[in-house]
């Protein structure tokens, strides 16, 4: 069953703008991971944030985690056409193996 829900389901912005995607989940987690998928290809691991962390950065990516609200956000700054892809959050739940994925956000960057 789906643990997370991404919001929005689809997002279209102009190149150079910032893109924000949100993820909500239902149960306590060990960590939360964000992935990118281009056109049905394999998943690219973007960033992992642990339950005791509130914010992490990697290049143009910024991830926040609010465990009290059971939510996370992924911010992509200064977007590029190459950022066009589907983005998924996935939760690693305590004492449960494997990841539970959200439904994903399809991001389109308009040149």
């Amino acid at each position: 069953s789906q643990q997370g829900e991404e919001d929005p389901q689809a997002l279209s912005i102009q190149e150079g703008e910032n893109a924000t995607m949100n993820c909500s989940y239902k149960t306590s987690i060990n960590n939360l991971q964000w992935y990118r998928q281009n056109s049905g290809r394999g998943l690219v691991h973007l960033i992992l944030i642990r339950s005791n962390e509130r914010e992490k950065h990697s290049g143009r990516l910024r991830v926040t985690l609010d465990t009290s609200k059971k939510s996370s956000s992924l911010l992509i700054t200064a977007s590029r056409a190459a950022d066009t892809a589907s983005y998924f959050c996935a939760t690693d739940v305590f004492r449960v193996r494997g990841l539970t994925f959200g439904k994903g956000t399809h991001l389109i960057i308009q040149p």
Partner: protein
């Protein structure tokens, strides 16, 4: 991160047949997983591939339909048995590395006619 390869990358199969997908990792890993991504959908965990013992299946997936082997710490196979068009999906293997990050193979795109 580990380099993960899958074979085949894609296949078109007839209903009622079976297909075995291979997943090879370039380093030894303890945890390997198999996921399914149905068209236009997100990923769903099929099972954890356990080395030296039977795989652990998630609700809705059974060994008779998706037998899994894990003969060593670098290799696993997933078989999709007695296929129907509903089995048309992308099948992905993944490995968990030291810091709990999970990395995915390139996937196998299966079409069942």
């Amino acid at each position: 991160s580990a380099v993960i390869s899958q074979k085949p990358s894609r296949d078109i199969c007839q209903r009622g047949t079976s297909l075995t997908i291979q997943c090879q990792v370039d380093s030894q890993v303890t945890m390997m997983f198999w996921y399914r991504q149905q068209p236009g959908q997100s990923l769903t965990l099929i099972a954890t591939a356990n080395q030296g013992s039977e795989a652990t299946y998630e609700s809705g997936f059974v060994i008779d339909k998706f037998p899994i082997s894990r003969p060593n710490l670098t290799f696993s196979t997933l078989t999709v048995s007695n296929m129907s068009p509903e089995d048309s999906s992308i099948y992905l293997c993944s490995v968990e590395e030291d810091h709990n990050e999970q990395f995915f193979g390139p996937g196998t795109r299966l079409t069942v006619l």
